[in-house]
Structure formats: structure tokens, C-alpha cells
């Protein structure tokens, strides 16, 4: 199908982008890597958008360590996240996630900000940021604000961002000494969205478990986390299966996804132990 865009403008700066959005009568749509948005437009799932292309705003790109946080600009491409040594050192979960996201061509264009703002419940990055306790940074007409990751993802393709806001970047606590981060997922084919995925971080303070593709948004499995902290894996699997309510679709049923959640948790914990040994 042929996409039907309402218009296109390239933003020179965040300020400019915000002005364009403000002047768009609610039709404005941020275009970053285009790897979800353009596909949706080409299927006419999204028509009449006034595209505000932020991809040339250099201030939104890049990775930096600031004290004990890691800052990743919204426009940082998946491919860069996957190869950056600072990400590798301080948030290895994100690096591992990249290997599961789509294919090389898409990873070269897709941006972490786009993936988070798009909030596909089957995407890797949203669950990773949830597991790692990230903070989202947004800028709007009234200035900037920070949103805790727990408050960011609301529904399928819906976040706490307002229509006139732009996600500028995220910050994450850098991994502690001895911290372990593990990602497990099952997809039908390499590069496909996961049937179910699981992120596990083990910190001095305890475990963090986040799942994707098990509901309308990534899920922090608090019950499973508490059971793991108590050292009871079976209880963690039981708790997990009770705290997710996965969907059924043409790829897999809810029952299969629920089962898989438990399998992935066991596998992630086994890897924790294997690596620790």
C-alpha cells in the first residue's frame, strides 16, 4: 500500500521539533528511525500524520556515563547500543537485547527512544529498562521532566508521554560490581518479536525480573522477584505464572506463553548460577 502522510518537516533542534509538534493541530508525529512508524504508514494503519523528523538532531544521540548513571540519547541506534563498550560494561542487558531485535538493516536505523516511545509490548528494550529501573527523560512545551520507568508504559503502544512531548533520553543506574543481567527469549524465527521474553537482573539488593510479550505492557514480576530473593525458584515460577495474564494470538496461546515464562525464569536462574560458579 501507499503511505498517506499529512506532511513532513525536519527538525533542527529539540526546540524546533517541539514547535513543529505544537503547531500541528494534534496531527504531529515524531519520526525517529522509522522502523515502526513507516511500516505502520505503509499498511495505512496510520494516515495523515504530519511527520516531524528528529533524526538529524545530534544532541539526542549518544551514550555517556555521568557519575553512577548511564545516559543513552533517544536517537541512539540499536546497532550502536549493541556495540558500545560503555553499554557492555554498565548495562550488558541492553547489549544482549540488541542481538534479539529484528535484523541488521533495522538495527542500523531503529532508535532506542523510538522503541521505548512506540511501547510494543513484545519489544525488548521496554522490558530491559523496566528490569534495570531506568528513568525516562522527556521534553515538552513547558520544559523537561523525568518519568520513572514503572510509570512510563501504560498500554499497548501507549506511554506516559504527552502528544506534544519528545523523549530525549534515558538514564540507568550503572551495574554494580558483581551484578548480573540476563535476557532469555523464545521467538519463532531469529529477529522475530519474542513469543515471551524475560529480563533478570541480580543486584545486592535483590532480583529484578521483567517480562515482555505477556500482556499489554512489560511486566515487573514482583512476586517472582520476592520468591527468588527468598531463594525459592519453584515458588518464583508459580508466582510468575500467577502474575502474568498473557494474550493468545496466532503464534501462541496464553497457556503456552505462561508455561514459557516459567521455563525462561528457570533458564535465566540457571545461567546466574552457572556464571557465578
Amino acid at each position: 500500500m501507499k503511505a498517506s502522510a499529512g506532511g513532513y518537516a525536519r527538525a533542527e533542534s529539540v526546540r524546533h521539533a517541539l514547535d513543529l509538534l505544537a503547531g500541528s493541530d494534534g496531527q504531529g508525529r515524531v519520526l525517529a528511525g522509522g522502523q515502526s512508524l513507516v511500516a505502520a504508514m505503509n499498511m495505512r494503519l496510520s494516515v495523515g500524520d504530519l511527520l516531524v523528523d528528529i533524526s538529524k538532531i545530534s544532541e539526542l544521540s549518544g551514550i555517556a556515563v555521568e557519575g553512577d548513571t548511564l545516559r543513552i540519547g533517544a536517537l541512539t541506534r540499536h546497532a550502536q547500543v549493541g556495540t558500545d563498550p560503555q553499554v557492555q560494561a554498565h548495562a550488558p542487558l541492553l547489549k544482549d537485547a540488541v542481538a534479539h531485535i529484528a535484523h541488521a538493516a533495522i538495527r542500523n536505523r531503529g532508535t532506542i527512544g523510538g522503541a521505548l516511545a512506540h511501547a510494543d509490548p513484545a519489544a525488548e528494550f521496554p522490558a530491559c529498562t523496566l528490569a534495570l529501573g531506568a528513568t525516562m527523560h522527556a521534553e515538552g512545551p513547558d520544559g523537561s521532566r523525568s518519568i520513572a520507568v514503572e510509570d512510563f508504559f501504560e498500554e499497548v503502544f501507549t506511554t506516559a508521554l504527552n502528544e506534544d512531548e519528545i523523549l530525549t533520553g534515558i538514564t540507568l543506574p550503572i551495574a554494580e560490581a558483581g551484578e548480573m543481567q540476563i535476557l532469555e527469549e523464545v521467538a519463532r524465527r531469529s529477529g522475530d518479536y519474542a513469543l515471551v521474553g524475560l529480563c533478570l537482573a541480580k543486584r545486592a539488593a535483590g532480583h529484578r525480573v521483567a517480562l515482555f510479550s505477556v500482556g499489554p505492557k512489560p511486566v515487573l514480576a514482583m512476586g517472582a522477584m520476592a520468591a527468588l530473593d527468598a531463594g525459592d525458584l519453584d515458588a518464583a515460577v508459580d508466582a510468575l505464572s500467577a502474575e502474568i495474564d498473557p494474550p493468545s494470538d496466532t503464534q501462541a496461546s496464553a497457556a503456552y506463553r505462561r508455561h514459557l515464562g516459567g521455563v525462561l525464569l528457570r533458564r535465566a536462574v540457571a545461567r546466574l548460577k552457572g556464571d557465578a560458579a
Binding site: M1, K2, S4, M43, R44, V186, R188, R189, S190, G191, D192, L195, T250, Q251, A252, S253, A255, Y256, H259, L260, V263
Partner: protein
Amino acid sequence: MTIPFNNPDRPNSYIGKTVPRPNAAKLVQGRGRYVDDIVLPRMLHVAFSRSTVAHAKIGTIDLEEAKAVKGVVRIFTGADLAEVCSPWVAVLAHLKGLKSPPQHPLAVDRACWVGEPVVAVVATTRAAAEEAASMVIVDFEELPAVTDTMTALDKDAPVIHPDLGDNLAFRRLHEAGDVDAAFETAHKVVSASFRTARHTGVTLEPRSILVDWNPAEGQMTAYHATQAPHMMQTVFAKHLDIPESRVRVICGDVGGSYGIKVHVYPDEVATAAMAKVMGRPIKFIADRLESYTTDIHARDHEIEAKIAVDADGKILAMDVDDWTGIGPYSVYPRTSAIEGNQVVNLCGGPYDFANYRAQTSVVFQNKTPTCQYRAVGHPIAVAITEGLVDMAAAAIGMDPVEIRRRNMYADDAYPATSPANMKFESLSHHASMDKLTEMMDYDALRADQTEARKQGKYRGIGIASFIELTNPSPFMYGIGGARISAQDGCTVRMDPDGSVVALSGVTEQGQGTEAMLSQVVAEGVGVDPSNVRVITGDTQVTPYGGGTWASRGAGIGGEAALQAARALRASILEVAAAMLQADAGRLDIRDGQVVDMDSGEERMPLAELGRIVYFRGDTLPKDLPRELVQTRHFITMEYPFAFTNGVQASYLEVDTDTGVVTLLKHWCVEDCGRVINPQLVDEQIRGGIVQGLGGALYEEIHYDEDGQLLNGSMADYLVPMAAEMPDMQVGHVETPTKESELGAKGAGEAGTAGAPAAVMNAINDALRPLGAQVTEMPFTPERILRALGKLQD
């Protein structure tokens, strides 16, 4: 003179060698010419408004908003086109009882599947046409839909076409021997239900057509991505009331077809009809999303089957009850009964046994029509047969290779006729099995499997023997009354510079037909393949032929090319003999030179002969024929089909916690007779295997009970991709057919025929120690876990 094929050192020995594909450079440099690359003056584009419901009476159609869209030129409804295009009925006389209602290019009173074209919008751009099509408002008054195959004939099921009486399109029962008695007295009987999922072909290039009507000449030219240009010529002529001679179908580069592009599609005929009405060229390129609801589907079968064996593993009987749902119409003109018919014809194919019963029931339903797709019926028949054989082997504790060896037709048993009445000229099941087990090192693989199991890994080996129907005679369609040519022709000519042009009725879909033709002609005449230019796909230019289907290009088109090339060689040598005052029988043509046959001494380049013939013909004897253009046609006469055979093996690992199958390796040994181009044959086999693996593990069109297609996009309909594909090893046994000098049978579908069964058997081999078995394709992780009893709903 016959060609000593067994001597690889013979002159001009291009047949049997990998030669470069003449069109490869063009395609990789982006210089191909697909239909969508063609732009004609005053050209318009069409987009269709399609049914959004599975079954409905078409009420009022509101076109006001659509007409207002900038760029829209004209909008057609079913009633408009019914005036200029006669409907078609897809039945064949030899498929007794097959029925189907008349079908129009646009639905007239009723829409019968989601995706059926209802309104056509012609506009200056595709974007405008789409925009307007999305604004067409059709009042669909919903009717009850039939979606389930197995209940389509129930008394309370709505009848889709009341004029036809019921939803049964076709039923055929075939019985040989005394099946019931054999089952009653058998040592062991094993039964199972099988399911093959609805697939579609997913060609790289979608269906494409551009039709130009020239009223001044009274001629229609259709640029069409099709497998069968001459068949389409007849269809357009007949239904648009144009003399056949005034329809020209041109088929340039085609981006894959797999059977998808050999059928008559209502939206394509509509495009031709509208072009004629408007007197302007109209282009229709199906987009990926509409392809899913409109390209033919295939393989939607449910089967109950059983096998009886004696204590030695000899097959005593097979009984197969096959059901398939084909959508609301049999597809024109090949019909949608062929697939079920093939299941009846092909089950039990490799095995020498006597008692066989098979029935196929083909029913109408409100889903996308199904029809012939690569390896028509074969993957289903092979899955049933090989699934049962493996289960029988397990039931009597016999090795799966051994049980096959005990039942396959002996390699010297030919000619033979199967219990399904299929006639085999000469097959090589045992030689193929020997080669396969050697290639895969069967015993070592079994040892590896045992070793893996000790480490808690569930690996399985699956074997699937098969037969493949190729080189069809008129028995396939012609005897049923369809104007689908089983013969094919080739014209070969020498131009003044000594180069050769070959025009063939078989077509190039990307599979390498033109490479095959170039090397056959090169060897037949005696020139380098680079000096042969091949022209295919133009009904006004090439000899009449059938095109690409049922793996016929090399076997039928190749033989016609060889005979035409040999005839040209003889003509050239006759002229050369006169010029050189030599005996034509003592001359040969090698590498573009007339040479002395015995010594190989060069006597004259072909370019010199061409110069004399074309420019100084006055110097040649008056009565000397100088016909440097020759045409030959070929049709098979002795056998209805040239059967080929082969055997595949799959080695894989099943993750019993997630249900995920990892393919470790795949083997295929096949016998397509003379291998003309080893690389092309291997790639056909590999590509075919990949499509078969798709069916085994990924491909499945889902409908809900209202007939809504649920996964019509590349994101949701999973095709096999490179990362999951195993290493594939291909081997050959060559048993040339004696029907032709070339001896080639087909190779295009063998890979697809056997791969799903090999994977199924391998999965079940892996799961057997756990007491689980799967028979419903595709074998998704979820189906495997359910078979293992690991899921609680």
C-alpha cells in the same frame, strides 16, 4: 547422431555442466524488467475495494466519496464488468462430478470470501486509487459463512451456492485390491490423523499485470507476470470476446511464481476488461497485504489414514480419507480438485503393495480459493505415507530405513503400475536410499542421537521417500477440455554472425529456464552458450507452449530445444558441406566452427557461413536448402507423467521445554533423470526443501470462525528464513527417461514434496521415547508441547 551424454569429454559438452545463467548479471544489476518497471503513455492504475466479510449479499454501493478523490478516472462495479466480460466456470471433464459456480471478475450479487474484489477504482496513481478504494462504501448484508471443512457437508451447514445443491465440489474414491480383508488379517494396523495447514506462495514479486488495448489494431497486449502466457491468451480472448490471435501476452522477468501465477485471478481479468473499456493501459500490482487474501492458498487438508503391515514389515494395505476446503470457487482453468486428486494418486507411491483405498472430499467454504501450489498434493501424500510407514516401523520395532527397503519397488521392477494406477517408467528408490544413507552416514547419526539423549537432548532422524509427478501429458488438463498445452515448442535460428537465437514456449520465472535452454541449444548446435540468446514469454513471438508448471520446463521444453537445435545443426552442415564440397556426415560444429568430424580440424567459422548464406547466397547452388531456422515441438506419448523419485532425511533437535525445533541438517537424493545443469537442479531442490520446511514448521494461514483471515502480513504469516535453515546436502541418481533424447524429468518440486514428512518423522523420532507424536502441521512449539502434555489451559 545421438549425443554420447556419458562422455563428459565429448565436444560441446554443455549438457550436464553448470553454466552461468544468462540473465543473472541483468537481474543482480537491477536491469531486469518486471511488469511494474513498465510505464506506458496514458497509463492508469487500479486498486480494488474488497469484501471485508466472508459471505454477504452485496447491497447498495456508495461511490460518491470515492469519485471525489483527486486523480480518480473511473470506478467499476461487478455489474459494470459483467457486461463486458463473460463469467468462467472451473471444471474439467475428466474430474467427474466436479462442480463450481460461474465466477465474475468483480463480485456481482454476493461476496464469498474476505478479499474478493467488489469494486475497482481506476486512477492516475496507485496512491489515489487506493485512497478512493478505501472510501468506497459497500453495504454488505452478511450471510452465514462456511469455514470448517469437516462440517461443510453437514445437513445444517449453509449451502454457499444454492444452485449447486450442496457444498461438495468434488469427491473421488479409488479402490484397488481387497482393502478390508487385508486390514482384518494384518499383523499390525496403525492409524493416524494428519493435518496440513493452509499456505500461500509468497512470491518475491507480487502478482502483476499491465494491459493495453489498442482499438486501432483491435489488439490487446497484456504484460503479465505469469507462468502460462499462452493459456492466459486464450482466457482473455474468450472472456473479453477478442479473437485469440489479437491477444498478445508478454511475460518478461518474473520474480518467482511457485504455482501462484498459473491461475486466473478475477482482479487481473478485471484489469484487462477495464483497459478494453477505457482504451487506456491499466496496471495492477498486488500489494503484499492483498496478496494474502487473494493469491491462491493451498494444502488445507485433514486426513484420517491407516496402514496394515505383516510381521516382516511388508505393507499390506493403505486406507486414506482426505478432506480439503477450497474456498467458494474452483479456480479457473486448472480447477481446485487437482490437489485432492493428487493425494489419491500419490499416497503409497514408492511402495509395492496391492490393497489401496483413498478418497478425497473437496468442499466449498468461505475462504480464499485454493489451487495448485508447488508440489501440488505431494507434501500431503508424502506426509501421510511416510508418517504411517514410520509409525508402522515403530510398532513392529523395525528401523525406518529397513522397512522402506522391504517395501520400495525394486530398481529392476519397471515398468510398474502402482495400486493408485500411476505408471512408472523407471525409478531408483533403492539406489537413492543407498546413496542417502551413505551421504548422511546413517549409523553414525544414530550413534550421535543416542549419545545426545544421554545428555538429555532429544534429537531425531526422519526419512521420507517420495515420487514426484513431472513432464505431464495432456492427461493432466487437456483431456478435461482445458486449453492448457502439454506440448511445447522451440525455434532456433542462426543469424549472420554465427550466433544463435532460441525462442521457447516455456517460461522463465527466476528458476533458470533460460540457462537450461541456452546450454541445451549450445550443445545441440555446437556453439558456446554465451552465443545463444534465449527469448521466452511472448505469445506473438515464441512457438506455442504450456509455460511453467508441473516441473515440465527442462523435460518438455528442453527436449523441443534439443531437437530444434539438432535440426539447425543439420541445416548448417548441409550448407557447409556444399560450400566445402565435403560430406555433411563427416563434418561437425564445435565452438562455433565447422570442423572435420574425425580430426577436429577447423574448416569454417559459422560467421563465414552466415555471411555467405545471408549476403552472398548467389554463390550457393540454386536448389540448396538454406533454412537456418528450425522449429521442433515435443510431447510425451508413452506415459501420462514422467515420475521421478527420491528420498530426504532430516536431523533435528527438539527442545522439550519450549517445543522449539532446531534443524541440524537436511539431505536429499533425487532422480530427475538427466541432470542438465547440476547447480540449477541443486538450487531447485534446496529452494523446494526450504518451502517444504516452511510448511513443516512455520506456514499457516489462520482464519477465525467468521472467515476473517487473522495473519495476513509478513509479520504474522511466517515464512522460512535463512537463519533457521539447515545445511542441505543434495545428491543425484540419474535414470533418464527414454521418452526423449535428452532424458530429463522434472526437478522443481521434489524438495517441497519430501521435506515436511522428513521433518515430521524426525520430530516424532525425537519424541518417541517420551511417548509423544505430532501430525498436525506446522509443528509449532506449542503443538509440540501439547503433544508432550506440558500445557495446562
